[in-house]
Homo-oligomer: 166 residues x 4
């Protein structure tokens, strides 16, 4: 496979949230991504950049534009974006609209913070990292072990599951 | 993507080992695969069959033949095999030799049992399940976040890492 | 030691909180107490009653009175109460005021939910269950591995640690 | 309670075992004790010394004598010893025979390594640390949430549980 590194852009989301024991609230410190890749004993060459650490419900147009521009500017042809699940589809749409030809871009996240016991984070990271290496150019969402083209997916708000949409 | 289920054959390996607190030895009970797919909130249609639960160093030719035959007989065109890492390449070779045209077969395992805290199992499962959905027909090994054609991979015994081999 | 069971009253608190992945909020389902005692391979005879499952900041006088009455009514002479840390001292004071002679009553809780990876819950449960078996009659708080008489302890809100108070 | 530190002697045992992913065997590296006390948010003053890191089935008379001498020599009046469960009673007997008047000595261990997911280690540590602060002088074993005088306990080899013995 392509020996060039995979670019990983971290934007936060539930994936990276932590529990503040003094206030009982969830908040962000540093990304757990490197620790997760170590746990998975990953040997994929990656280049990690934290663009922001926010809940995707708090993403502004300006934040989203930043993500889009970083994808366009990246030298790598394979990009993985960790992102909150609530507006992941919106960001995927914005990235696709920027028309980054020749790039395979995969967004993923988690329904439960990696820091908590029952997280899907590690599974999703393995999944997305593999999809980004195997898929042809395009923009995709990788959740629930599946992958979806950006324009045929939605998050089912009742179940928290990502599914195909016409 | 293909709506047909992914067939999963469980053969054991470190992936599914457990700790026996009375004897201090590692042993097999039931596969943790379903529990892991639940944790990953996987929505991929799968059909799981436990063929055996053994350490791959204990695999006999007869065991390996069983795996090969099951792959040939399976109606599904995408097959994931969980397997011990020590002889995963041998089994991949045997499966490839049986010439199962039109099938994408991916083998994966773990260096640390899923039942232990620091396991790569969940990451590898997400990885392999994604590779098996995205790759073209052929036999592959998915470890360390990467995937390798069956005939160009080996397990580095010093580091425990899978790498390309000529 | 006393062969009579230890009575355990569950009132909730961070100890038993869980993460709701659809809303991102923390909430209560069932107590994890039995599962924690199983994990600790506890062989202490216990009798568990869930009185309520609330954040101790939401405890009303009526809730607190309920806890006090249950302690007075209990046939057992050793009682463990799991409780939110924020008003644990208030409840200890109310229980002590009800003058339950001959009873050893220990309150404990957790700074991080047991359901999350980095919880002090299991350690505190082992600690409190041991203090309640070893201490003479009285009302105590067991946190941070230590135990304090009810009238000489406070929760330091800056650090989240329980310490002696005059 | 006594402000003098609790002395902790680490001898190894299943409590501190780790999994070697290259060989599949269990082995010892450093004790996890400090990490466990941090997780429990313990504020008990302790002074930790690793005497040895061995399986208690491998303890020789010389090793056991070392433990006994360290207990006798310790300035502290409260001592916690982490130990393999298989010969914990033998070591307790040897320590008691050395007649260390005025000292409360508690031995504990674990049936499953702390490094594995389903360990009783953290619960036992909380339990033993509390018993050693609350009990009068003597030598005790703290396992399964209970505590036993050194001369009235045995490990049931069938169940792995510690129970009273005449």
């Amino acid at each position: 496979m392509n020996p060039e590194p995979v670019r990983i852009f971290v934007t936060g989301g539930t994936f990276d949230k932590e529990y503040n024991e003094l206030t009982g609230a969830l908040f962000f410190k540093d990304t757990h991504l490197r620790e997760m890749l170590r746990l998975g004993r990953s040997r994929v060459k990656v280049s990690i950049t934290t663009l922001m650490m926010i809940d995707s419900l708090d993403m502004t147009d300006s934040d989203r534009t930043r993500v889009v521009e970083q994808c366009a500017r990246a030298a790598e042809s394979r990009i993985l974006i960790t992102h909150g699940t609530d507006t992941m589809v919106e960001t995927a749409r914005a990235v696709a609209a920027a028309a980054t030809p020749g790039k395979t871009i995969v967004l993923t996240g988690a329904m439960v913070p990696y820091a908590f016991g029952s997280s899907d984070g590690l599974f999703n990271l393995g999944s997305a990292l593999s999809f980004v290496q195997a898929l042809p150019p395009g923009v995709f969402i990788a959740m629930n072990g599946r992958c979806f083209p950006w324009n045929h997916v939605r998050k089912n708000r009742e179940t928290g599951v990502f599914e195909e949409a016409p």
